[in-house]
Symmetry: D2
Subunit: 339 residues, 4 copies
């Protein structure tokens, strides 16, 4: 059961509602986000929700049978839209392309990439400055200095910045320079990080853990939401299975599933999902047809010289074709949906 | 190394070529198919292939580094086309839709389905008459009697029949009534069955084993080809992974991979691949964009009454929409490819 | 529900019991094995089993909630024992070691191995004569001629023969020469083969499919049992998971599970389960402590020269140590069980 | 290549060695731990290591081909021993049992458990005070207050404390009260946490990520070591595979592999590895025979009332039997190893 409180709900009223919920055999958790106040009620007793709906201070009450409550579409039927400002919006009604290099390498690279993206009308740039690497001896990213010039050039051109945050202490450092915090697959169940990102007023792009079930994936999103942040983007990026011919096994089944069960926007990262440059475009198009609301694409002027992930990175020429085809695919989808 | 012999190659010439191959440190296997004669040469010695190319009786000689030789695109660059007669062709230039019930249940069902498919311009009908079932007490299909009326109504309407064969002894029984033999996921490494299907002059639709690597999948196709049958269709149908919200995990990465590595046509079965009716259409469209040359769709007039797999079966109304969208997707792809 | 009929049960009585079962909302399947007659009743209606227990001809009736009925321990509490003759028995009270080469290569090899096994008091020899191979160009085994001399030397020395059968037509050929038919992992869901092995009066060693769930594994055993053969040995041999440092991922959790849920003896094949010679002994000992009733071990006088699987095969010296340790482990277990 | 420097090595000498390493085509990383100074040299050039071995300040130089250097047994042949004080040592020569509840629930529980463990001669107690939970609404542990009384009663009785740390900020808080920091499966690739634990002088018990390959698992240990902490215990706790009858799939193959490739002690957690109380003892014994140097066991006076994981927790009576059998198993192993 999920109770949405009125903005005007008084502390006394909240206390009274909580008492009533407990009497009904449920355990309430109070969740305040930037825009709303909820009581998430865990339990399985039978209850006539109208008796709660009539209490003073209650805006609405919903039966939510999913184990993950706040992120469920059982109560919020209209999909979540995320407004990034300057006309950039993430939603189910328009396909989003975010692109950029795996790692930010130097300012020149940023300038060239920003210029390319602007010409291509891409309004979100991805780029890693803190890099999780399997080996402690590998390149771990430029750090906050890299983020500063990455952000500077993007802002000068109306392009939004998405970059991975790896630990709690980086949130404050990165906050002034990013528009979307990305959580990587290895931190998908780093619950303390998720909790802290719940206290931030910027969106979080949450990648699926490489062995997370979809229930666990939604539970990770529930952590962020229940700590106060409603602006979450789910991102399928491939799971770990037995096949070794590609880096990960992109699980596109997840896309219609997540769109069905949750009101959050759903992205796909085909670059990591397949990990082979020649197969990135078909998998991006496939993700779109499966229903993705956006893609993250790794691009680089000269992938063969990239500091990381070159083998799965499109060059600019390839990217132009992929962008064009994704836009044609989006137009076709929109026709269907408006039928 | 793969040597293609001339049709006119004499036994003496073959013997001489074999001697030369052995001298070079390779082990040759002679493969005669309906249309060609090959020597598949296993080994890794360095050899100047021109010395073999000049021998009398040799049509062409190729270096094939893939472990699977005959199915590799390293020697046959032009994709395989399969002609089913009456204008029905399977190829990479045109998207194929095959549809029908999981199980053939009775003649009335066949009549209705054939009539529906004909109206929809679908020229291949699928339907199981020997059903592999996990439990020995479950419905195992109507058997050969079901196939007879299934085939009769299809032929009367110019529709081709694809149905699963489960054991060697069924091949001869089924032969007069099917146009494509289907090998199911549980028999994907039933090598004796594959060998026998190599001796047949009708195409084989080979499903990927639910835990087959792609190298193993191609090796299963190599069994059929090396026993004499070049008409093979590969079909991705989902692998077994950890996610339990859907029946299988459709591995669409496999599609661009298989099209890249092999000259055989590549199909997808989204009905089994996701196993949830609402998600079948998006996954069919996704498979198409990933590059599939065709799909197998489970359809039924009243899925909720189907003898098997109703939960993943489209009703006729849903199927009409899916067919239309697949055709629009195909048109879009063709434009791209003809750019 | 499972009904065991008396040996003296008359056809009329069977018919009457079947009527009663159907009236109760169950679907009965009559199963006759070499030693017993059962009615396996599928359904979920509530029924007072005493009303059936009192019918003439009924020996006993059991509630079996497991989806697999005949192999379940819910009705047969005492574990199945399998008597191979000449004092060789497979059971839960005594640990069985079966050993031998992956492939039978020649008569000399058989003579040496038999002599070694006899000296080591091992009474079951394994050896492949029909080999399932991923590549059609690999060595596929000596075939029935190899089996003849393999069997001859074993019989002369009181050693029982276990060898893999790959297709229905081989059953009759192999029957005179084997004591146990082995079904390999790739045929674990080859239901026609399982059905036919149900009609044989020799035991079947059934390996788990490399991606079979345990429910599916038991269903495969149920196929054999329900076709008439009660003598089944389950064998865990490793599943397919993501780790690539070893050939398979040996799932020893399966052993206590299978012993808990089924009355059948449970073996383990650590040679395939880990696939690395140095790790075979620890995994054999681990399987024993997990509760296995026996192991299959690949041994060879000179593993480095073996026709197949040399990298996972113990030489005779290593085998002697492993046998000794397994016997010490068995003695320790017996002490615990007799506490 | 791995260079161990003398304790007396002067800065000038280090600089000179580093120059020489770079000249040889390697990239050196300087690693100082509590007891040693290393240069980890990444590269693949051919080099005569004697030319480096003769440089002033070099204690020894090793060729280490494994991708993980410091944790490899290629240079440190003698296994790592970890001294916890008061006679408690973790090593390959003696089997360690650590036991305790999943969650610390209250002081009375701690008192009873400590008393039980003392009577059973168990010298390490496990217990969670920060609990990673899939759902944000589940019990997340007592926190630092729980740890204080947990630690107090253990210390009064000579029992060592192992407890999970979930984030960097908890390290300092927990430091005074724990003897071993545990890293859970969800944080196995939380590289910042691993880096910080490298700066601590207490041992770290590192659990394998539920989808970590063994190379990745060792890389996580390499993070800790290369940040300065040599005291690491590896712990296999089950991977995520397709089987759903148990919580995880315990991968015991990992145990002989890790002992072969690394000098670090290797533990096993059968409680999480199988997740079913009845199967915990056989899997603990199996882990021991596979070569584990110790086990973590979940025990509780009344598992059915435990705050978490009751279904996989042994009661005291069951634990007594398991401890006794593990000790008998250990005695048997020692006899073999001393042969």
């Amino acid at each position: 059961m999920l109770i949405q409180l009125k903005q005007t709900c008084l502390p006394d009223q909240v206390a009274c509602i909580i008492d009533k919920v407990k009497e009904s055999g449920y355990k309430p958790a109070s969740v305040k986000t930037a825009s709303n106040h909820y009581l998430v009620c865990i339990g399985s007793a039978e209850v006539d929700i109208r008796t709660i709906g009539h209490l003073p201070g209650v805006k609405d009450v919903y039966v939510v049978e999913d184990s993950n409550k706040l992120v469920s579409r059982q109560w919020r039927v209209n999909p979540t839209q995320i407004d990034l400002g300057e006309g950039v919006t993430i939603s189910r009604t328009q396909f989003t392309i975010a692109a950029g290099p795996c790692s930010i390498e130097n300012e020149e690279q940023v300038i060239k990439t920003v210029s390319f993206l602007k010409k291509q009308n891409i309004s979100i740039m991805r780029g890693g400055i803190f890099k999780p690497r399997s080996s402690p001896y590998a390149f771990r990213g430029l750090g906050i200095d890299g983020l500063k010039f990455f952000s500077k050039h993007c802002r000068a051109n109306g392009i939004k910045v998405v970059s991975e945050v790896m630990q709690v202490s980086q949130i404050e450092l990165m906050y002034p320079y990013v528009d979307i915090f990305q959580v990587g697959t290895r931190n998908a169940q780093n619950f303390n990080l998720l909790d802290e990102l719940g206290k931030v007023d910027k969106p979080v792009l949450l990648k699926r853990g490489m062995s997370s079930t979809l229930t666990e994936f939604l539970a990770s999103a529930e952590y962020i939401f229940s700590s106060g942040n409603e602006k979450i983007i789910l991102c399928e990026r491939g799971i770990r299975a037995f096949e070794k011919e590609y880096r990960n096994t992109l699980d596109l089944n997840a896309i219609p599933y997540l769109k069905d069960k949750s009101h959050l926007p759903v992205f796909c990262d085909p670059s990591h999902g397949v990990g082979v440059r020649e197969y990135v475009e078909p998998m991006a198009l496939a993700a779109q047809m499966a229903g993705a609301d956006g893609v993250l694409l790794e691009i680089h002027e000269t992938p063969e010289k990239a500091a990381s992930d070159g083998q799965q990175t499109l060059n600019f020429q390839e990217a132009i074709q992929t962008f064009r085809r994704l836009r044609m695919g989006d137009a076709m989808r929109k026709n269907w949906w408006n039928d």
